[in-house]
């Protein structure tokens, strides 16, 4: 019987924690109780911005890595953070998961860092909530003080937003005092942090997600496990996106309801306006391709493959529904 350390920067509550607990139980079940995890929550072992190095060095045998903290080391995985049109959490996770699992180039790149990819979560679709104003067209963004993250934030800046640096936990007070006009976020996070109390409008961008966060393992430790346990880890990792997709969809819907009850106006950004966001965001896709090429990863080909996978899973969802809805 083996017990491995798992380092997780987040708390043991919420959809991500539920999905991680599911993963741990699934691994135990598949190995007949032979392989277990001792999860250290809340960054007790290391913070999110030290995760890649910490897992590679064996501080924990496995851990959650968020790619945005490692734009160089997690370059390939960062494809899931790009502002391509990719708003469905489940579709995004399946596409990312398949890409990460099947590309030898990515596996080799990770192996060079002593890491093995196991499975993926996502933050789900990027939307934006505002106080005292509302974003109905991209022109409305000009001159607003916005808390923006990643390539999405950069694109808001390109449309004339003034980016304000602050964490998602400070956004409540920022919106409340007027330091911020708008804050980029995810529906479930708005609900969890009660930001609906300080928002007047919430614009559904249906644009993309920050999807590059997932479970990785120390390669030496992984290689040292018997083959059936390696198999169990990979199978559980594959199932993670289905389980997390189910949890996050429910959470997001509940959060939107909570916002409506609080009197927040829910705005759907028109398709034409979304097109403008996607187009402006292309700069950052090109930037990523150039970086990937420089790292020997054939960026354009990976991006094409990723887009094809998004279409594949969108079609699967449209034809068969989400896995948890299929009787």
């Amino acid at each position: 019987e083996t017990t491995l350390f798992f380092g997780e920067a987040g708390p043991n509550r919420g959809a991500r924690a539920d999905a991680l607990n599911w993963f741990v139980e699934d691994v135990a079940e598949r190995t007949g109780g032979e392989l277990n995890f001792d999860v250290q929550w809340g960054g007790a072992l290391f913070k999110a911005d030290a995760a890649a190095q910490a897992v590679a060095d064996g501080v924990a045998d496995a851990g959650t890595i968020i790619a945005v903290y490692f734009p160089q080391e997690m370059l390939a995985y960062g494809i899931a953070d790009l502002p391509v049109q990719n708003p469905d959490p489940w579709v995004g996770m399946k596409a990312t998961d398949e890409l990460m699992r099947n590309s030898d180039a990515i596996a080799q790149n990770l192996a060079d860092q002593n890491l093995v990819y196991i499975g993926t979560y996502t933050t789900s679709a990027v939307h934006i909530g505002c106080k005292g104003t509302a974003i109905r067209t991209v022109e409305d963004i000009e001159g607003l003080k916005v808390r923006g993250v990643g390539a999405y934030g950069k694109t808001f800046a390109d449309f004339g937003a003034n980016l304000v640096n602050m964490s998602i936990y400070d956004a409540y007070q920022g919106l409340d005092t007027g330091l911020l006009d708008c804050s980029q976020g995810y529906s479930y996070a708005v609900g969890a942090l009660n930001q609906q109390e300080v928002m007047d409008s919430y614009t559904l961008l249906n644009w993309g997600q920050v999807g590059a966060l997932g479970i990785f393992m120390n390669k030496d430790v992984f290689d040292g496990l018997p083959e059936d346990q390696q198999q169990a880890l990979m199978e559980a990792g594959k199932g993670l996106s289905d389980e997390f997709g189910r949890l996050i969809n429910a959470d997001n819907e509940a959060a939107i309801e909570k916002m409506k009850e609080a009197g927040v106006e829910i705005i759907e950004l028109p398709a034409e306006e979304r097109g403008k966001l996607v187009e402006k965001g292309n700069t950052y896709l090109e930037e990523w391709v150039a970086q990937a090429d420089a790292a020997g990863l054939e960026g354009e080909a990976l991006l094409d493959e990723y887009r094809a996978l998004i279409e594949k899973y969108q079609a699967e969802r449209d034809e068969q529904g989400y896995p948890w809805e299929r009787g």
Binding site: Q53, V68, Y69, F70, P71, Q72, E73, G143, K145, G150, K154, A157, N162, L163, V164, N165
Partner: protein, 172 residues
């Protein structure tokens, strides 16, 4: 020689504090007046924090400003207290050694891999790591020199520790 480098490092830390104070103030003023800002303020402030906190480490050691508990030791003979100071330095050398080894690996890793921070400017990760390695290494050298100095002071019959100004038995 050592004390001059120490002073220089302390002054560099002062410059880092001024820089991060100005950086934040200017970005607030720009936001409040022109509705604009300085990109990647957070990343730059974090890197400056490393300089501000780590570069004075050697000065802190030299000034014997590391905080200690004296409630038991001050009741011991003066000679024993001197040796306890040496023990404290020895434990410090032990505690800092793994930081130097890991700091070296991190500095090399970030330099070789070209790691950078996500942000509008894609600033490199190596400067903070190199500063950390430098500050801790210099503190280690300073402590080692201080410890050998203390040992020879004791050997020659002198005392390392100036007795405290207060009387330990006065109403505790």
């Amino acid at each position: 020689m050592l004390s001059r480098i120490e002073k220089l490092l302390l002054d560099l830390a002062v410059i880092a504090v001024i820089a991060l104070g100005l950086l934040i103030t200017v970005s607030v003023v720009l936001r409040a007046t022109l509705n604009s800002g300085i990109p990647d303020t957070i990343v730059m402030v974090r890197e400056l924090m490393v300089a501000a906190i780590v570069l004075p480490l050697a000065s802190t050691a030299a000034a014997r400003a590391n905080i200690v508990v004296e409630v038991i030791s001050e009741r011991l003979p003066r000679r024993t207290q001197d040796w306890l100071v040496v023990l404290g330095s020895a434990v410090g050398l032990l505690a800092l050694a793994p930081l130097i080894w890991a700091g070296w690996r991190e500095a090399v890793h970030t330099l070789e891999s070209g790691s950078f921070f996500f942000g509008q400017l894609s600033l490199p990760k190596w400067p903070g790591r190199v500063l950390f390695l430098f500050g801790v290494t210099f503190c280690w050298i300073r402590l080692a020199v201080q410890m050998t100095g203390d040992i020879s002071t004791i050997r020659s019959g002198g005392h390392v520790l100036v007795p405290a100004k207060h009387n330990p038995h006065e109403e505790v």
